[in-house]
Subunit: 222 residues, 4 copies
DNA sequence: AATGAATGAGGATTCATTCAT
DNA sequence: AATGAATGAATCCTCATTCAT
């Protein structure tokens, strides 16, 4: 039997010009998703926003969902890259927390619009859901491990389930980042990071955190 | 402008049968939204799910978006109704918190799918966004007021901004409720409510909360 | 209002092929209007008559009404172009009248079907009504001016209101042209033009017209 | 074989109430046609305008076109009735002409909107076209006969084809009536009737008409 | 006879994708 | 590789007509 005639499956561009066009399309797609939402995310709109002609879209992408994939991967990758701990990090748990929250907040600030679209049944595509789950798992898993370490070292309340606690506090940061980027709440980044970190620290009973003094006051120490 | 061909704006049904059909459509619409997402939310699908014929949809709703409006209002109303504090509530702040979180969790459990769809640019409709904002404001405002009262009574950490704190902790509950209803995380309701309440209480340094002892231990009381 | 989802407003075709397709659609639309009337004027029918596929219609026109606009403008333009007086016209008023009526008759012969459709409330579109009014004004105004000139020169009955007379006699020609093209009456063009001209001339008492002799006979000259 | 089950074919109403409802529907249909045109002429709109419920329409009429038939017949009948010469008419040809034009003008004033709709391919219904043709024939035939009589009596220009002349001059009155009722031209009825009559009389060279003197002046009588 | 809910075929429009140049 | 015209299935909505009460 002869091979089935399949669609020519766009090859990665070989020329510089090709790469540029392709990148422009991914970028344009992302911006449209972020600014105008899913319904505006059409090949035509993306092509126009990227400044290329209509049919060129299909030179680089198999379909609209193909581009969506690339956009999501791009957003996710950027987000993960941004939140890897910078090498020169301090050893103080609270300062690590603050720094981590700041990075998380910033990363979600840009990515939340796109990732939430996927989180919704926005695409029939199962692969995309998977990507989003993996991102969350990356953060929740890391936070859970961190909490476990603190508990083992006697620096955090040992009665908390690490995973559920990590999920809850991570969710708090994610959701606040989303609200923050959705422009509804008028707090500046420093204030938000400060509060989130103090709430997080108090919540897990982190030793040496700023609000520990309040927590202790008035409670009869054993 | 010339005479706009004004669509006759479906009147509320007068007969029992009409009311039943209409309710069936709203319910079917809600279920489709919850289970299959926005893209499956077509007049045809809704009509079929409600067991009525295609055109009947337009006997009761002006358009697809009109039904969406009704569904969202229905969900929002149900949610608000469900989370009004039961009259026989205790005076103990922590117990109130637990009860409140349980109600919130349950309410969001059902509503989150639908409300998130709206939160997305899912609809070009500005009115819907407004509804969602109002719901959030209802909860955040109430939580902020509650926190302020506790602070004034010396029962909670006074260094926290009530509104930002309420937003963050409310976000935590909301997001966990969403993750919970999205079936990804395998914790049972009691465990979740328990953890959320303890985290919340510790975060604001609530006097008399279960984890207060831990927080106090090892900190030199002034 | 929120951002209106602005339809991209079809751009004029850039290629020769595009222009041809577009022209074919306008022509097909006109022929369908003339031959089968308004109810047959559907995008589907027009596309099929033009030999293109269904969706191609919307490559060139925003909507069915948009094409109607173009057809009407095309018909109106052609009509006005056709009835501009040929440069080598005689000076004899009656011969000018004959020539003018012939042109008018021919122009309406083709245009009447389409323009009448518009004259009816056939379209909710106010702009179209305007076009038809302008055409009529062009003819009535010109005829009124011509009559005024004849009256001033003592060549036509000075007791007639130029505008009302022009309206009446122009209406006569228009309506006869319509009846003529609607194939109901079996007179040939020369006969019709001859009669219309003589009636018109006699009606305004044009000096030197064919029937002037009859008019004078038997009336006691002063 | 048994009879085919056919639709119950609405019987003429037997009760007074039934007749009233039916008449109300015909009247409402006519007014909608006159004021809002063909596209607004829906069973629903008519029923509503007549103040009866939706389904009642089909108690009295087989279909929308059935009502259209009745409306047209009603309009046509009223028009014919209105233009039958009143019994006490004078013998003077010009005065008869004036009176006739006045009646015609008034009759068309109301009927033109509806009849023109039919004249357009507005309905696929052949029977309606027929009705309109008959009305026109009634008028043109009568005018042609009248002209023939005048010609035979030596009171009108014998060189004119009676039928074509009658068609032309009748068309003039009809069209002016339409323009008049379409509110575009600001002449009052008396002025219009006066001008139409004088133009008509002059056009056929009617002896003894007001403008005959002008026509004769300056023409050398034989 | 009257009501108003129910029906579904038909029409307009969109838009992801393909194709000829 | 790029262009932009062409395609047509899918979708929303209308409305004449029927039906159950």
């Amino acid at each position: 039997m002869g091979r089935q005639r399949t669609k020519p499956a766009p090859t990665p561009p070989t020329t510089t010009r090709g790469r540029r066009t392709r990148d422009a399309l991914v970028l344009a797609g992302r911006e449209i998703l972020e600014r105008q939402g899913r319904s505006a995310f059409s090949p035509e709109a993306v092509a126009q926003a990227a400044g290329v002609s209509y049919g060129t879209f299909y030179t680089y992408f198999e379909s609209r969902d193909d581009l969506l994939h690339h956009v999501v991967r791009s957003v996710a990758g950027e987000m993960l890259a941004a939140s890897l701990a910078p090498p020169d990090m301090t050893d103080d748990p609270y300062e690590r927390l603050v720094e981590s929250n700041r990075l998380y907040l910033r990363a979600w600030d840009r990515a939340s619009k796109v990732l939430r679209l996927v989180d919704q049944g926005a695409s029939a595509d199962e692969g995309l859901q998977q990507i989003v789950l993996e991102i969350r798992e990356f953060y929740v898993g890391r936070a859970a491990k961190g909490l476990k370490r603190l508990q083992d070292a006697g620096l955090a309340n040992p009665d908390l389930n690490p995973r559920l606690t990590a999920l809850a506090l991570g969710s708090m940061v994610e959701q606040v980042a989303h609200a923050h980027s959705s422009l509804e709440e008028p707090f500046d980044e420093d204030t938000v990071v400060d509060h989130l970190s103090r709430l997080w620290a108090s919540a897990i009973g982190l030793r040496g955190a700023p609000d520990a003094a309040w927590a202790a006051r008035g409670v009869s120490a054993p």
